[in-house]
Structures are given as C-alpha cells and as structure tokens.
Subunit: 162 residues, 2 copies
C-alpha cells in the first residue's frame, strides 16, 4: 500500500541511478577515472563523466558522418569495449582482449577474443555518432555484450581456454 | 645418372622458381595483380612484383623504426595477410577474415578468424621492416600460416562454422 505522502517517482532519474549501480557501468567508470592522471575529474560525479556517452536521437542526427571520427569519440568507443572485455574477465577469469579496426570513414570491425574463441564480433558504421540514448541504455548495451560473451564462453569452454 | 653436359644448378634461382609455383605465392600474386587498375604492371614478372617483399638482413637494419610505418609497407603487410585468408578459404571453403590493429609506431596485433574461431593471432612489432629474406622464405611463411590455420579449423570444426 502506498502512502499519500510519498514523493512522486521521477522515472528517468530513478532509471539512471539504477543504471549507475550496474556492474558494467561501475567498470566503465573505473576505467575512465584511471585515465584521470591529474585529478581533474575528482569532483565530477559518475553521471557527469558518462555524460558524453549519451547521444540523443536529435543529437545523433546533427553529427556529420563525413571525415574522420573525432578523437574523443574514438576514445569513448575504445574505452567502452575495453570495459566489456574487463567485465568478461572479472566474471570468467579469462582475458578478453578487444581488437578494433576502424577506417578513416568511421566504418570497421570490433572483435573480442578469449583464447581461440571469438566471443564478440561486430561490423560498426557511423562511429562518429557512437553513443546511447540514456544511461540505462548504455548499461543495458554493455551488460548484454558481457552476457552474450559469457554464454559463448560457456558454449565452447575448451576453445576459450585454448 | 647425371650427364656431364648438364648445366650447373644455381640454387638461389632454382629455389625462387620453385617458390613462385607455391599456391600461396600464386594467390598473393593474383591479389597484387588485381590492384593493377591501369595495367601498369602487365609487363612485370611475378618475381618483380614480389621484389619489395624481399628485405635482406642488411636492408632490415637500415630501415628506421621511428615514426609511422610507410604506406607501401602497410599495403604489403595487409595484402600478405589477405592472401593468407584467401588461401585458407580456397582450401576449406570457410571465409577467413584478417583484422589488423597497428599503432602509429608499427606495433600491433593481427588476427584471422573463421566463424567463432581465431585461427591465427600474432603480436607484431617493427612493421616498418616487414619483409622476408628470400622468395622461398616468403612462400614458406605464408604456407605455414595457412597450414596452421587449417590445423586449427580441423581441431575445432564446429566453432569454425559457428
């Protein structure tokens, strides 16, 4: 039974808070903070640091996909897949190394391998627009990749350790 | 029984001729000639076209490993691994796609995958000096990679088709 005095739930913020508690986002945040050599981000919140990963539909449309992807977007792209690899390692104790091959036009492939097993393989395009609609979507996407990878490792345990 | 009139065998040339008949080198040559859009190499022999793949010990030492690897050496590096992939495909009917991640310092990784199987994985360095001492060494190196990859596919046939 809900009491009438309970404050109204704001779903967006609630979802974001929940997302920030997800192991995948915790891993991503840890990786980002590890690159904060001069302590410039010490006073920033986790949500602030992940802010640039959030690209709304409207923002996406405005990002041109001509020319080289921005260095910052490549940095976020790489750190996202590094976080996926690290999360896999945390849960399976198997090193999962990402390897990305992105052309100057923002088109390419991403692979994650453990041992002789390809746990994840994707053709990517429009890397210029790399981002997620909300923090929850970011957490979901990363968690799904980790879960799928672990399912692949469980399907072929021998190859993942070869 | 050898007849005294037989011309003396020159081992180096003999070995090169034999190397040029190797399926791997034939595949490599085919890939190189496929890029000859304007027919500029039509009058060049196979050995001529492969000439730049040959880097002797002395030449290796003279190539500086500072800065970006040359665009030409990157082209040869990529076409070599593409030829490995294509040779695997010719023998197993499984597509083997190379994926290379080379930093600006000529250090990186090369992977070849078929399905979910990593058939070849190597950390490379000093890509600036990519080359082989002789044509036979080039043929040998490529053939060995293809053989090893096929052995891996035979060891894990299910994963290679996943």
């Amino acid at each position: 039974m809900t009491t009438p005095s309970k404050p109204p739930v704001i779903p967006a913020i609630d979802a974001d808070e929940k997302a920030l508690a997800a192991p995948f986002l915790k891993c991503l945040i840890r990786l980002i903070r590890a690159q904060d050599t001069y302590g410039m981000w010490e006073n920033k919140s986790d949500a602030d640091l992940l802010g640039d990963f959030i690209v709304t539909k409207e923002q996406r449309r405005e990002i041109p996909i001509i020319g080289d992807p921005d260095a910052d977007v490549m940095w976020r792209f790489n750190i996202f897949y590094t976080a996926v690899g690290l999360s896999i390692e945390a849960r399976t104790h198997l090193v999962a190394s990402p390897i990305t091959m992105i052309s100057h036009e923002g088109f390419g492939r991403v692979l994650l391998t453990t041992g002789r097993l390809v746990v994840f393989s994707k053709t990517v395009r429009d890397v210029h627009r790399f981002g997620f609609a909300t923090l929850s979507k970011l957490a979901e996407a990363g968690t799904k990749l980790v879960d799928d990878a672990i399912a692949a490792i469980e399907a072929y345990p021998e190859v993942a350790r070869a």
